[in-house]
């Protein structure tokens, strides 16, 4: 560098701002921009994570056949023959149980991702379980799940009526059935099912339009805006129906620590199994027992750990601190991202059971026959909550 150049450079440094360095060189502007980008990205993730729109996307033809006719013939779906209500290709099971022997728990057709309630994918059971365990033709064990019409035959008495059934209980939108005739088999939706508006008997009418409803907000006001189309129930829906869920990304179940509201998933169970729920509309104290009392008549649901008779402090439930996918708890305002279990966490029906079917009797999440007091494997099954029952002490 010549003397003149050095002088010019000094002069330049003294008299004017230097040019901004490129981003790759880590200038202040680049740093700020990167920070802004990351901030935006994080915001996007937070926003998307909290507003998963489960409204069906995809080609009409992937789910519907206008005239139950194709290439001059009638369309059949496995053993199912139609025509099918709401022009569906095989009814509920035509979409959600379309490959019983298949190994996909979520089938993608076009842009539509369809959770399968009946499949044969190893370790692929979704949150509600898998009807495979009770499906006729697949070595069923009826004690392991709900006997849904189209999948299983009707149960023999007395299991042809929902255990704990009570007449005309209050349900969202009206009252439940005044009677449950033994020959009345369970349907996916409607009065004799779980999904949709249970004041409407026809399963398809009961759930009509729900799949096309904007359900980015689950407020329980309509079927489409109810958790998993369970009318009136609130919650946070995991986008993959809990396939490969983690303890910070799972279904968010709505509970009520005072078992006094109708928008909890346990209340939905109680609509048919009323005697197992403490809500005054259902079995109430008389059938289940009373919070803060010493003796439960039946295992409570919709009760927080803080509500036990001897108090949360010092109880065995304090040992359950980290969310367990095996024995999940409900929350008053679920987000699906809770990792911490504390005194306000709520025991629910689904803490122990699956909704559809499981590999275990009573649709339990674990094998009750292998639950041992003392020497039990801590943090599993019943012992997830009952942390002291398994201790060898």
């Amino acid at each position: 560098m010549s003397k003149k150049q050095i002088v010019d450079k000094k002069k330049y440094i003294l008299c004017s701002n230097p040019p901004s360095p490129p981003f790759s060189k880590g200038g202040m502007g680049g740093l700020l921009l990167y920070a802004l980008c990351y901030l935006l990205l994080a915001t996007c993730f937070i926003l998307f994570a909290s507003s998963v729109d489960a409204r069906v996307k995809g080609r009409c033809k992937d789910c519907h056949s206008m005239h139950y006719s194709y290439e001059g013939g009638e369309m059949t779906y496995g053993a199912l023959a139609g025509p099918f209500p709401t022009l569906t290709e095989g009814g509920c099971l035509g979409c959600h149980g379309q490959a019983p022997y298949g190994t996909e728990n979520i089938i993608t057709i076009g842009k539509a991702r369809i959770p399968q309630v009946l499949h044969h994918m190893e370790n692929g059971d979704l949150a509600a379980g898998n009807f495979y365990y009770v499906a006729d033709g697949y070595n069923p064990d009826y004690s392991k799940g709900h006997n849904l019409i189209g999948i299983s035959l009707q149960e023999n008495p007395p299991m042809d009526v929902p255990p704990g059934f009570m007449r005309s209980v209050v349900i969202p939108g009206g009252t439940g059935p005044a009677d449950w005739p033994g020959q009345r088999q369970l349907t996916c939706a409607g009065t004799w099912g779980c999904h949709g508006d249970r004041t409407i008997e026809d399963p398809y009418k009961a759930i009509y339009g729900a799949h096309h409803t904007d359900d980015s907000e689950i407020d329980g006001l309509t079927v489409g805006k109810s958790y998993r189309f369970l009318y009136g129930i609130k919650g946070k829906e995991h986008k993959d129906w809990e396939y490969l869920a983690t303890i910070d990304n799972h279904n968010g179940y709505k509970g009520d620590m005072a078992h006094s509201s109708m928008d909890t998933v346990s209340y939905l169970c109680g609509e048919c199994h009323a005697k197992f729920h403490s809500h005054p509309n259902l079995g109430g104290i008389r059938e289940v027992g009373q919070a803060y009392d010493t003796i439960w008549l039946r295992h409570p649901a919709d009760i927080s750990f803080d509500s036990i008779h001897s108090g949360y402090a010092g109880s065995e439930y304090q040992g359950y601190v980290r969310y367990s996918l095996e024995a999940p708890v409900a929350y008053s305002r679920p987000t699906g991202g809770e990792q911490v279990v504390d005194k306000d966490s709520i025991v629910m029906c689904l803490s122990c059971h699956r909704a559809h079917a499981s590999p275990y009797p009573d649709m339990l999440r674990w094998d009750y026959n292998n639950m041992f007091v003392r020497n039990g494997l801590a943090g599993t099954g019943c012992l997830t909550c009952h942390t002291r029952k398994g201790h060898n002490q």
């Binding site: 729109d53 409204r55 069906v56 996307k57 995809g58 080609r59 009409c60 033809k61 206008m66 005239h67 139950y68 006719s69 290439e71 001059g72 013939g73 139609g82 025509p83 099918f84 209500p85 709401t86 022009l87 076009g110 842009k111 026809d202 398809y204 009418k205 009509y208 339009g209 096309h212 904007d214």
Partner: protein, 345 residues
Amino acid sequence: MKKQLFILFLCIIFLCFLFFPLIPEGNGAIVSDECVACHGLYPGMEKAILLGNILCVNCHTNSDRETIKILGGVRVPIVYNTAPPVRPLAGGNFHYVAKDFGDRKGHNVDGVTSADEKFRGVPPGYDRTSDPSAIGYTPEKTLKCAGSNGCHGNRNIEDPFESISGTHHADDTPKDGSTTAKSYRFLRNAGKVKGVLGLEDDEWNRNNSSKKHNEYSPSIDLLCASCHGDFHSKDKTGKARPWFRHPTDIVLPKSGEYANYNPDFLPLDMPDIRIYNPDAPVGRGKVPELPGGEVTLGEDIVICLSCHVAHSSPYASILRWDYDAIIAGEEGKGGCFICHTGKGE
């Protein structure tokens, strides 16, 4: 006497020339002008051949892309362009089912294309009890333009040409379905079922708009049902929600997603009135004397032709749109979403 007869003949000819030009082109389907334009296509041919289905096809075919051609001074609607049509008419265009375009895009009419390989001549959903024709559809024979194995003409007559014989020259008003000529587009159907009613656009919908178009009545559904009865019968479609097959011949509801029919053009302050969309037309309980630009919710009627065209379309199942491209939940427009406005969002 011979001289008088000759003078009388000349007078008739004179009167013919005097009055025929007064008949406005296209208003009514009475064909006039040069006989030879239609009847002299095959000089020397036997009558039996001359009057076959092929004559219908040939008169109503064009080798270029225009869908209305002039034949002997008469405007002839084209149902089959061998070249891609510029503006297919209301019935669509057999161009799409001819040659290699595929059976699924149209009716396989004799003279245009060979019989459908999959249907093997059987109309999907055919139900003999829904077919008022005394003869009925005969799958062993090909689909014709008219007659018992076709759509036009009197379906109590098997021969396509006989079934429509004379209609092109008959008084065709009013369109009350009492005769073949007085049936909408010569769709007489058969038996006790009256002919199809409707208002015929003078350009066969070539330049249609919300205010200029054919007007349909649900009677056209009965014609479709003659061959596709399962798709119309209440026993097969269901009587109410939930439907088992897409309903037809049913009032467009004034509630729910249907209340926004043709959502791109929602008129203000007219709760039950929507703008007619020729891409998803409706039928009228009473055929109007002039085409209506409005659709009255709770009154106007979903018909087969709301979704399909009659002859052939560029799309599978003779639909008015590409069903494969109708995507729910992605803010799609048109097609199914003209009525099912809540599904596209």
